[in-house]
Amino acid sequence: MLDSLNKSLSKRLLFSFIIIGFLPFVIFLIYTLVLSETKIVDKLILDQHHQASQISKFMNTHLLSLDKEVAFLSRLDLMDDILAEDIDKRISRLLKQKKDDYNLKLNFFVINDKGQIIASSDKNIILTKFPLQDKLNKNTKKFFLDKKLYIYSKVFASFDKNKNLGYLILEYDLENLNNYLDHTLNAYAYIKNNNIVIGDKAPFDISINSEKDSISLDDYIVVYQKMDSILEEWYVFYVVKKEIALEFFYNFIHFMLYLSPFIIILTIFVSLKFSKYIVKPIEDLTQVTDEIILSKDYSKLLYMSSSDEVGRLAHSFNILLNTTDKTLYASEAKSSFISNMSHELKTPLNAIIGFSQYLISYEKLTDEQLDIVSNIENSSQYLLEMIYGILDIAKIEAGKLETDIKELDCLSLSKECFSMLEPLAYDKGLKFELKTKDYSLNFFKTDEKIFKQILINLLSNAIKYTKEGKVVLELTNTKDKFFVKVIDTGIGIKKEEMGKLFKEFTRIGNSLSSKQKGTGLGLSLSKKLSHIIDGDIYLESEGINCGTRANFVLRLKD
């Protein structure tokens, strides 16, 4: 996976697009799935608390206003009519009026000091005995019985504030409070005191914990609050079914989950489209360059309609192609010129050599004449050698040099070259050694001719540039490389001239070399040849008169 990503730009782009497309979605989804529910539940609890305290406040305000009403009514002068047994029905009428004003399930009535109901908003109970007289306690002003709340106030005579005439009592049906409970949220909303419940009770019992004010069950969220003032012993409850309260949230989650395959498909589709779109010009470019490489027709041009980075690349590439084409043309012209010229030169030169040798062998020349003709022959031989070298280079450059790779015994090949050059070294009085201690290869696949040519070249170079000391040919190999080292104690090379070494027709100008014959093609040719058999040559030297080490490296192939 990672490997294929590394190899393909379009796959990398696709991968990045998919990541960019998915990541926010996945994060959002995880957030919604994991965190949102708790947050929504918390918010819900908070809202319910707010609702509950609001309800509690409304209820209390309502009851307190009733309480005030009772106190107010009880202080009216009209209450003196208790003493006249409300024969004129003035109190009853007033109470009826009040009841009608409230339009609630409630009853006002007045009892005298004997507990007899003197006046009431409900005329049916007038003159009956009030059964709960013993509950009337001056301190509390209220009491609960079943689902009824009784708020009462003592009545005193207007003409004598010490004279107790009886009580004004409000019998309030607590079911009235149901109007304050909001059932719109599909919640169970109710108030509760011991076993008395007003409102819509939850289908299960809730034990109140004074530490907490909410319970989150599996299916329900319960919020409760203690009430105050008149309803101080009561609790207000809101029990919301999670399913209903979080319906929107669950719908949303479902929506997201259902949507995710589409988003995945869409992201992949868009990513594919875009990565292809981006990579397309590059692929086109690659295709054209491949074609150019195959056909070697460098006069072709790339056509890119876009003016973006790839367009600019194509433009630069065209300029490069143009230059390459020109250069190649020039180089080809040079090569063909050289090869033609060399052929033309070879013919007369062979004639010169032939005639010179004829003179030397068959004519009776004087010593002086022999000397001159020998010189002509030598120089011609040298010239011929040079022309062969140039032809080789031209061949290589024209790509016309054909190789013949075979399994070779390099050790014996090296020995052959070694013995070929041995006399040359002995002529100069040099030590000439062959070291094969670290060599363990039996066979090596390479081109015999080229290998030999390079080796002879390097060895003859070493002998040529060494006045005294020794020349060593060393064969070594590592796991994957085969080294042929030619080490001499010759004139060495200046570090700054190292770069010029492999240029054609270049010889390093120093005192020694002027005495040496050389075309300056040797190293350049060797290096080019080594490239053809997938090798390389490099030289090492500590400086002038420190000797040179020529390394010919070949890669071992499986």
């Binding site: 002068d77 003196d80 009519d81 003493l83 006249a84 047994e85 409300d86 024969i87 004129d88 003035r90 005579a157 207007s158 003409f159 004598d160």
Partner: protein
């Protein structure tokens, strides 16, 4: 003779007068006319340790009108200014009952209560303190 008789009948009818009485709870002793006046003006509030409660009838009552003229000797306007002044002293006008019936029940029920009603239909449950009649046509 016949004419004289007719005249007599006419006089009798025209001079037919309603009779009224000031009554109190039976617990109270006799009270003089002046004392009644003082009680209704709340100048006298206790008698023999009993808290006195004067009870007026509704302000549109003819009996009240007659009572105020006969016993208080004050017209409505004067009474109004009297109670306005008394209001600032912290005194309030007497309790008002709408009907004679309730006034009578009140008097029966409250010690020291005192009111005025028509004589007609009175029984022993209350004590008559003073009687007067009013000739004025209604």
């Amino acid at each position: 003779m016949k004419l004289k008789n007719l005249f007599l009948i006419f006089v009798t009818i025209s001079s037919f007068a309603e009779e009224y009485a000031v009554v109190s709870n039976t617990i109270l002793d006799d009270i003089s006319k002046n004392q009644i006046r003082a009680i209704f003006l709340k100048k006298l509030t206790h008698l023999n340790g009993i808290h006195l409660v004067p009870v007026n009838l509704a302000s549109d009552s003819f009996i009240r009108k007659s009572f105020e003229k006969e016993l208080l000797g004050m017209r409505k306007k004067r009474l109004k200014s009297y109670w306005s002044n008394q209001h600032y002293l912290g005194n309030r006008p007497p309790v008002i009952m709408k009907s004679q019936k309730s006034a009578l029940v009140f008097v029966k029920n409250v010690q020291g209560a005192i009111t005025y009603v028509k004589v007609k239909g009175l029984d022993d449950s209350v004590k008559v303190l003073y009687r007067w009649s009013d000739d004025e046509k209604e």
